[in-house]
């Protein structure tokens, strides 16, 4: 039954996403659909639709130079791992090289506020010396970053966040496991702000290319399952049984020789 519910959540997300195809989309891509207690899970945050033309003739056509958003997850099932969340997409600049600045805050459990600001110039043709230092945003967000005439990327990764599914107790202690986490966690984003290279929120453009308002941003939520305790307990019992029988056999071998 739970698998059916999970499948329903995933399918509904896709339906929702399809209906909003002509908008900037923040998509979330977990590294696995299930995460067991004691395991890590990673979630890619991707963006698409920065260069889209609507049937109405309106369009979004912008490079991305900064973003901020709130990422939502269930803190009773997962723990955020800052040290495993340093791999952010390179399309706004390399953070260790000083090409971009990022932040992640968790003032409220289950709500990660993250943001990134590119320090790169928009393009080689728009910059003024001594600021003309490559790479440029106009290159990094193309299919071939060495070719400024190649198409823009349809989708690229903004960030990767790492989480850990903790055991409900202290591993190795007599009481372990005191409780088992289980259920589904929904990943979602809200309060998305996107900036163009000129420091203005990315706008929807009319047919003539004039800004007519903030570009719509949608984020289909996605669910990840943390299996219920019985599954893990049965598996643990099975492993314990296998191990126990193996030791018995070894003891029998020693006794017989």
């Amino acid at each position: 039954m739970k698998k059916m519910l999970l499948l329903f959540a995933l399918v509904s997300s896709l339906v929702f996403a399809t209906s909003q195809a002509f908008a900037i989309m923040i998509s979330l891509e977990p590294s696995k659909p299930k995460v067991y207690a004691g395991q890590n899970i990673f979630v890619d945050i991707n963006i698409s639709g920065l260069h889209e033309t609507f049937s109405s003739g309106n369009q979004v056509d912008s490079l991305l130079a900064a973003f901020s958003l709130d990422f939502l997850y269930n803190p009773s099932l997962l723990t955020f791992l800052p040290f495993l969340s340093t791999d952010w997409g390179p399309h706004l600049g390399d953070i260790p090289s000083g090409e971009a600045v990022r932040f992640v805050d968790e003032f409220t459990p289950g709500v990660l506020s993250l943001g990134l600001v590119s320090l790169l110039e928009e393009s080689a043709t728009s910059c003024v010396d001594p600021f003309c230092i490559p790479p440029y945003l106009n290159n990094l967000q193309r299919v071939d970053s060495s070719d400024p005439t190649s198409p823009y990327l349809d989708t690229f990764r903004l960030a990767t966040l790492g989480f850990y599914a903790p055991y409900g107790g202290n591993p190795g202690m007599p009481s372990w496991p005191s409780t088992w986490p289980s259920g589904s966690t929904v990943f979602d984003t809200t309060n998305v702000v996107l900036s163009d290279p000129d420091g203005f929120e990315i706008s929807l453009l009319d047919a003539s290319g004039n800004p007519i308002g903030p570009a719509p941003v949608v984020t289909p939520f996605i669910a990840v399952k943390v299996p219920e305790p019985a599954t893990i307990a049965l598996m643990s019992l099975g492993l314990f049984g296998i191990n126990f029988s193996r030791k018995n056999r070894q003891a029998a071998h020693r006794g017989c020789c």
């Binding site: 000083g98 943001g115 320090l119 203005f200």
Partner: protein, 436 residues
Amino acid sequence: MEKHIKLALAMTVVPAILALNCAHAFPLDATVEFNGHRYAKVVPLGGATWEQARANATGETVTLLDGTVLKGHLVTITSQPEQDFVSSTFLMASWQQLWLGGYQFFVDSGSADNWAWVTGEEIGNISADWAYHFLDTGQPGDDPNAFGNEDALRMLINGGVGTPPGTLNDRWHDFTRQDPGPASLLAYVIEFDDLGDNFSSMTAPPTVVSGSHWRASDTIESDWETIGFDDSSWSFAHAPYPNITPVTDLIPGTNAEYMWYDPESTSNGKQGPIEAFFRYTFNLDPEPRNLPLFGNVLLNADDDLEFYVNGQLVFADDDGDLPETVDLVHAVDFSDYLTAGINVLAIRAVDGSLASPRDWVYERVLVEAKIAIGTLGDFNNDSCVDRTDLDILLARIRSSGPHSVWFDINEDGEVNIADARKLVLLFSNPRGATCD
């Protein structure tokens, strides 16, 4: 005189497009020469605020026949012959008015204080410090009106329709900069010379010191510390108020004076009211409005005080009347409380202590505040826009509190990550390197 009138009549038809604010070559034959300078009258369609007139005048140049380019600015009148020339050439009819290049760069308690020409030729009290003025009786009057403080000069013919020409008054009056009318009678004169416009957008007082220009009271009233409170019924503080300790012992080199509420000036510094309230109102006019504002103050009271800025309690000195603390000078940064427009510094001072007010030896308040308007994006006021400023802005974006307008760098009404990106474009050095 007739020649001037003809020229002026010709020039009144020079159209003005107020929206144009870029450098523009003014036709030489539409100007008239006086004492080596060129002058032109512009009649703006639909009237003009002083700021619009100033901006348009500043955007004009005129090229002489020998190729010399003269820079435009709102006319400045520094002698009686020049006054007579401008008046006779450009003023035509009853109640006609001309914006002049005189403005009040800082609005305080004195309507005549802190006036300047846009060129910088005069600065100070317009009545006492200017070498020449042609103010009408009772001017500058800072008269009540719908537009706020009167802080810019007009020359006007102060006479009704039908007033005999020989009796017209062409003296100067102060008007509010935002007053664009009357549209049918208002014009401005551009003067072309090599001075150009040196208008200072910083209308803040660089230093605010305690003295007799502060308003004072001994009675607490509701909202007394807020901007909206009308303190016009308060008397002025008594300063210098007697005290045995020289002010420079507390704040070396200061021009501040001890002050207290003592309207009769009868106290010897020991018999004033136990509590006194002080207010000082000033205008900050950054251009653009989102420039960062900085304020740092040195405060001392015998004995305790509360310091408010725009109605918010910034600092309380509540260490009582202990001999070892009464001469402590407190340094307080109130930058976060300043705002573009009208600001009010307010002080509640108490003899004895805040917890237990009582008459105790001396009473006094000493204040020296330094106020500055910074550069866009330079939040730490170190003359460099760098990663430190980006970190300051990101910290503000990440906090949930209300944000000052000076963090809204892209002027879209919100402070968010787009402002951080805008700040990157203001970096002094690539990638936000510091300015060593």
